[in-house]
């Protein structure tokens, strides 16, 4: 195996111009290295830039600044010299397959299309293998997306992404449109596929409990920046950044024995607008531990107690503050 990461971003910024001189800084300086074969979760609230980052990694959105490499080769080089090769390397799974699949194409046509474009032989066999891989019956082939249930449609979305046997999947909230009993089925499918195919998966998610179940590593985003990342279990057990701590605390437990007895932290206020992030640490307007330095100096990612990284003036390799 090559020793460069499956995905690497350095200093990636994506700014959208909303008025002369005014920009929404959706992604504002993201450095990320995701080793091959990992299942990486990116969490954060709406407007934190996680979806924009995912779309930028696959090239659906171009970066304003910074570099992205896929398997050691720059994304711009891939796109200029080997677009088809990139499509065979990395695929995107959308949140709502109803919006990403053609409504007039049967499932068979949808799954066959990438195979035709890439000249893959034995298409029928490959399509059937894909159905088996995602747990769909043969009878799905002649149907239209609208006539399938949400869970089945997401299976089709995943099958189509896997058609060309890519090694990297980028998934944008692939579970959020699904009911809980169905969501668990798809979570199990992702875990199974990752183990079976050795995929590198990046999953954008807001359900922290699901991320903890299937992602081996995680990054937490706030206002366009990564504020913390590391091994999921360790970050969630011992979050070093006050925002991560508050985010974890905000998730209620489905078990009332835990929910009624645990201590909770409720943050005041809303996240500020990404068009006008606060100076210094972006979290300083809501952080219960804020002090002078936070308003002047933006913290950078540094080694944290859990072995990963955190961007907080109160976090060091051997200790951190707790809200």
């Amino acid at each position: 195996m090559p020793d460069f990461p499956a995905i690497q971003t350095s200093g990636v910024k994506v700014h959208f111009r909303i008025a002369p001189g005014r920009f929404v800084k959706a992604v504002d300086g993201v450095d990320l290295a995701i080793p091959a074969g990992t299942f990486h979760g990116i969490v954060g609230e709406s407007g934190c830039g996680k979806t924009t980052l995912a779309r930028t990694i696959v090239g659906l959105q171009s970066a304003t600044e910074g570099e992205i490499s896929i398997a050691g080769r720059s994304l711009s080089n891939w796109r200029r010299a080997d677009r088809k090769g990139l499509a065979r390397k990395m695929q995107f799974v959308f949140q709502d397959p109803l919006g990403s699949l053609s409504r007039r194409q049967t499932i068979e046509q949808s799954l066959e299309e990438p195979l035709i474009i890439h000249g893959v032989p034995d298409r029928r066999k490959r399509v059937e293998a894909l159905l088996d891989l995602v747990g769909l019956p043969r009878t799905a082939l002649g149907r239209l997306p609208r006539s399938l249930s949400g869970g089945q449609r997401q299976r089709v979305g995943i099958a189509r992404a896997l058609a060309l046997d890519p090694s990297i999947l980028i998934c944008d909230e692939p579970l959020s449109a699904l009911d809980v009993s169905i969501r668990a089925q798809i979570v199990a499918l992702f875990a199974d596929l990752q183990a079976k195919l050795g995929l590198t998966i990046v999953m954008i998610a807001h359900d922290l409990a699901v991320v903890r179940e299937i992602c081996s590593s995680v990054s937490v985003m706030y206002l366009g920046r990564i504020v913390e990342s590391g091994a999921t279990e360790r970050v969630f057990d011992d979050a070093a950044h006050p925002y991560s701590q508050a985010l974890l605390s905000a998730v209620p437990s489905p078990d009332p024995r835990i929910e009624t007895t645990r201590e909770r932290v409720i943050l005041a206020g809303d996240p500020p607008s990404p068009s006008n992030p606060p100076a210094g640490c972006r979290f300083n307007t809501r952080c219960p531990l804020v002090f002078e330095r936070c308003r002047n100096e933006e913290p950078v990612l540094n080694p944290a107690t859990h072995g990963g990284l955190a961007a907080c003036h109160l976090s060091q390799a051997d200790q951190h503050a707790t809200i």
């Binding site: 869970g151 809980v180 668990a184 089925q185 409990a209 209620p252 489905p254 024995r257 835990i258 409720i266």
Partner: protein
């Protein structure tokens, strides 16, 4: 929770058919429940379970364009909502029920400042004068935790964040001093840290006013945090009902068990990957005899496919818990006898 005064709202044998074109769907199929002052009842179910139709249907709040046929009873304050004409229903709704929708931006007029919208609502529902209504609107903004209410009064909806708008929506629902607050997925569109704020607000308002809260949700964590009682709906019928603590910690209906098993808990150790509940909910345009969960149920028996399971009380528990699953109730009895 006091039940001495009797229920503030009571629904009996509710059946709701929805028609679109020549397709009809039995969205709600014989549902009875009651809610008492000061109580929070969560109605839990997945999409298509009928939780929204069952709650908003009797109030005449279903989307336009859908033809509805409602039968049964829906009583509040000595009146049956189902027998009232549109005008009387609208009056009763404004005074007795406040409704908070999932998406506040679509419930507010985008062309009007939020304060005057609130004041107009207070005027319409309480007959207050212009000046009183304005004061009432300011008080409501204050009570719902909106910072700097004197300034926010003059803001347009688009100038406010999702969390602020949901607070305005709650203020709007409270303008008529309702006895029952109906909240339809009030935190689904909100971020986790803001969701925690809104749930806390609803609880606080309830403690202050003693109003009843009927909370429609699919989020078991939300139920666990705020509900006194829970009603679990599956395909238009109640599968299980009881105190939230008992239902969430010792569920009896196989659907409730499967549902709770599908939800991961951030604070528990990770076991085997969850498999969810196999299969999909039934097509409700087909009226079949028997239990609607039978096709997906691990405990299914031949009789389940032919006889509708009654919602029976669980014996031997100190609380009132009702379950529509004869096989499970029988198993419990046998365990108790042994």
């Amino acid at each position: 929770m006091s039940t001495a005064s009797g229920p503030i709202y009571e629904v009996g044998d509710l059946v709701i058919d929805l028609y679109a074109g020549n397709v009809s769907v039995r969205a709600v199929d014989g549902v009875s429940f009651a809610i008492h002052p000061g109580e929070t009842v969560a109605i839990v179910g997945e999409s298509g379970s009928g939780k929204t139709v069952m709650t908003l249907g009797p109030l005449g709040l279903l989307p336009e364009g859908v033809t509805v046929d409602i039968r049964g009873r829906a009583q509040s304050g000595g009146q049956d909502l189902l027998t009232l004409g549109p005008r009387r229903l609208s009056e009763l709704r404004g005074r007795s029920f406040g409704v908070v929708f999932q998406d506040p931006i679509s419930a507010l007029n985008p062309m009007k400042r939020v304060g005057p919208q609130l004041a107009a609502q207070a005027r319409r529902l309480t007959g207050a004068t212009g000046r009183e209504a304005r004061q009432a609107a300011l008080d409501l903004l204050k009570r719902t935790g909106i910072p700097d209410p004197d300034d926010r009064y003059f803001r347009y909806p688009h100038e406010m964040s999702g969390g602020m708008l949901q607070r305005v929506m709650i203020a709007l629902a409270l303008a008529g001093k309702p006895k029952v607050l109906i909240a339809d997925e009030p935190t689904t569109a909100l971020d986790a840290t803001v969701q925690a704020q809104i749930l806390e607000l609803i609880r606080q308002l309830q403690r202050e006013d003693g109003i009843a809260v009927l909370l429609i949700t699919h989020d078991i964590g939300v139920v666990s945090r705020v509900a006194d009682r829970v009603i679990v709906l599956y395909a238009g019928r109640i599968a299980e009902e009881g105190p939230a603590f008992e239902v969430l910690t010792a569920p009896i209906h196989p659907y409730t068990i499967g549902l709770l098993d599908s939800v991961p808990d951030l604070r528990k150790s990770i076991g085997e990957p969850r498999q969810g509940i196999p299969g999909v909910p039934p097509d409700q345009s087909m009226l079949v005899p028997g239990c609607r969960f039978a096709e997906r149920c691990p405990k299914v028996e031949p009789r389940c496919r032919t006889h509708r399971p009654p919602l029976d009380q669980v014996r031997g528990r100190a609380v009132v818990q009702r379950v529509a699953c004869p096989p499970q109730l029988r198993a419990l009895r046998e365990m108790a006898d042994a």
